[in-house]
Symmetry: C2
Subunit: 221 residues, 2 copies
Amino acid sequence: MIYNSVDCVIFGFKNEKLKVLLIKRNNEPQKGLMALPGDFLDSSISIYDSAKNTLKELTNLENIYLEQIRAFGEIDRYPDKRVITISYYALINIEHYSPQPGYTVEKLEWCDIDSLPNLAFDHKEIIKSAHKRLKIRVGNEPIGFNLLPECFSLTNLQKVYEAILQIELNKRNFRTKINQMKLLIDTGKKQENVAHKPAKLYRFDEKIYQKLKENGFYFNI
Amino acid sequence: MIYNSVDCVIFGFKNEKLKVLLIKRNNEPQKGLMALPGDFLDSSISIYDSAKNTLKELTNLENIYLEQIRAFGEIDRYPDKRVITISYYALINIEHYSPQPGYTVEKLEWCDIDSLPNLAFDHKEIIKSAHKRLKIRVGNEPIGFNLLPECFSLTNLQKVYEAILQIELNKRNFRTKINQMKLLIDTGKKQENVAHKPAKLYRFDEKIYQKLKENGFYFNI
DNA sequence: TCAAAAGTGTTCGATCTACACCCATGG
DNA sequence: CCATGGGTGTAGATCGAACACTTTTGA
């Protein structure tokens, strides 16, 4: 007998760091260990919908960027039973996140991507795979915005990229690159109550991206 | 009840074209249609080993480049039953391929990637995903060699890249790039019986690549 | 000597890097 | 007026695209 589960690597961005949402396991096996949110798969829903449901239950968020990583199917990845898990990663704006009833604060934790605790099963490997995929994707698709509030400064955006890619980027070149894409909309707003020149705030519009793409534009950072 | 299967997209390279190995379905459902080779998953073997077995049974090849694409889990992708398939793609040297007994020639076909016949289930979508992944991977990892004989010319290699990426590459720049990587070994051999200046033949050595990688080298075409 | 494909030299422009500088705000 | 981070100008280096050219073989 083979069981299928779906696990979600939920990425957030806070204090200039890339974070992953983990929950403390409430049941055996490996009760008490931190783990990825997920569920056994119901035969009546698609794997993608199952991942969406997990996300909705945990964060009350919908219409979230969600991409499958892959299936993890080592024989002994789960004790006693044969469980093949299909993992997804999601990018959310951490400010919009509001844990649903049943998920108490003690059970949930946003962990730094580079200082993860001990994790249940092969979940650390799954997170590493998710991060690797995110590194590639973020350079070729305009998805970094999903981790930010609707209005953000170019410095905010640069910090997101630096946190994901784990490298420093050159300010001048980053801004030149972003600006010449003509992808962002100047909201007219500025930062407030900052002890320096307030940054302009921008927003990303999916429609503009789609239009640019039709004209052969290829996002690339 | 959910069933799991494993399918393989086996890529080969012939007549300067990228090919996929397909078999004619022998059983219902969708008997007679062309499909990807694959099998239902046995609960006692890992998904990766299952893909390796499929490859071995069909081609008698081992130690082949094999990467998982992802799981395909729409509810209605397979008639009557709920079958989630986990798909892999492989790169083989088409000259080494020798179909095993039980797989008669009428049942097997190397199809051009850009003129596929009608396929069973969602197998066309799987092949598209495999090709997309290959396009990305081939630019960042030295895997193109797997499609070529042990000794090959730089033009051979360029044709492989052009077939995979479906674009033309500039000869001068391609060669400069490959040469400055210092990744290939000059075998000392040359083409024979060609009505033009014979090309030098090279081979790829995994060990050299590993050593370069340790020193921070990053393959990139 | 010709055709064909291998293989090389070199120019031009785009892009990346690095540094210097000005700007707007709160304290 | 100063500290701070936002935002820009620009010179020089590096890299990729494009083109023209030479080389070596079989016929």
